[in-house]
Symmetry: C2
Amino acid sequence: MTRTFPSINPEASPATDTSSRPGSIRESSWRDYARDDLPPILSSALACFMEQGYHGTTIRQVAARTGLSVPGLYHHYPSKHALLVALMSHAMSDLWTRSQLAIAEAGTSVPRQFDLLVECLVLFHARRRELAFIAYGEIRSLNGTARSEHIEARDRQQRLMDSIIARGVETGIFTTRFPREASTAVITMCTGVAQWFQPHGSLTPEELAERYREITTMAVGRSGTF
Amino acid sequence: MTRTFPSINPEASPATDTSSRPGSIRESSWRDYARDDLPPILSSALACFMEQGYHGTTIRQVAARTGLSVPGLYHHYPSKHALLVALMSHAMSDLWTRSQLAIAEAGTSVPRQFDLLVECLVLFHARRRELAFIAYGEIRSLNGTARSEHIEARDRQQRLMDSIIARGVETGIFTTRFPREASTAVITMCTGVAQWFQPHGSLTPEELAERYREITTMAVGRSGTF
DNA sequence: CTATACCTACCGAGCGATCGCTCGGTAGAT
DNA sequence: ATCTACCGAGCGATCGCTCGGTAGGTATAG
């Protein structure tokens, strides 16, 4: 029943190596969005889901976009639902990995943890806009265990922000009277970026992250100078 | 071609009159969500769209939920798409009407306009949670002119907040360095309420509106005392 | 007062199209 | 001989929608 389906070669480009650049021995990898490692079929599925939603997309459209026949597609994924699950879990695990790296880089300073987590969230939802859009908009299209696992991953992400803000309020660094709602508001702001950000707009993801860092900082009421 | 389709009687309940209560001659109507005037068919469609999305919902499900046959439903609405259009335009015009009433009540004070608009937005997205959820999540399911009209209505809502924050920054009442992004952030926060608010949770819509008023006030950097 | 006409508000049955998915293959590499 | 990586054809189910009705109310003519 539980067959393993191989995935199409995730483009093993041997030429460009962005991990080591002259001048910097080790960049923070959670800021790096140079390579998009989505296999071709998932990339096609993502494009279709963006345009028409999960239920509005047919398996034939995904196959045609990839240059495959319908049985050719089913050789790689057992069902239409599996395409959505693969996209969703990829999105949530990628965001979780980046978030943990960002917080690790921040060390023990709570305001710095807050700053880097906001930066991480904004960068992800701007750079992986389509993936994040689907991950937050198609939850109700998930069935069974995949749905509860996705919601658990989302709640875990929320608790990360909750705990940072709660610690900031305890130590008097953040002055907001409503830590829980402020956390929800900050998370909503950052994930909402995926719903309006335009890659060719006037702001780069990095510029937006800096502005959102300042706005969210004011929202939680950080004491001291800016 | 353009037949007019009548709507099912929007419940003419003659008994309860909530508009005039003892002690207050005229309440602000934009805060009143006592009566939900959605016709039965649209109410069924909304429930189905919430559970499975527009494309995931069949016309037979909507009909069965209303207690009608399929042709019976088509007597009232010419197509499945028309159900979505009716829900969308109802949501946007209701929100627009309430927003204008809120700002009118605020008078010429910019901070008060900001406060009441935030309160109006939070109340709407908490009290009309399902309607707002569909209105922001099913835009891509809209076709033709309905889509562009909906987007125009959404942009008009955004400009309302933009102009208030811009005036606040000009007069020095708001100190944010990024009025445009702060406006987007505030709108995203408030509309995002529809994605997580639970009617039977620990906060009433009114309590949440008050907390969000304070959080958004800090986000735009209002000068002076709180 | 009745007869006919016309209206709204529905429904049983079903049409053509399309859906997710599968069967039974083929081509090439190992 | 066996594996991966596909494909042409098509199956049963379901989709949005429609055809040709019926039941009951109201309006007008005789």
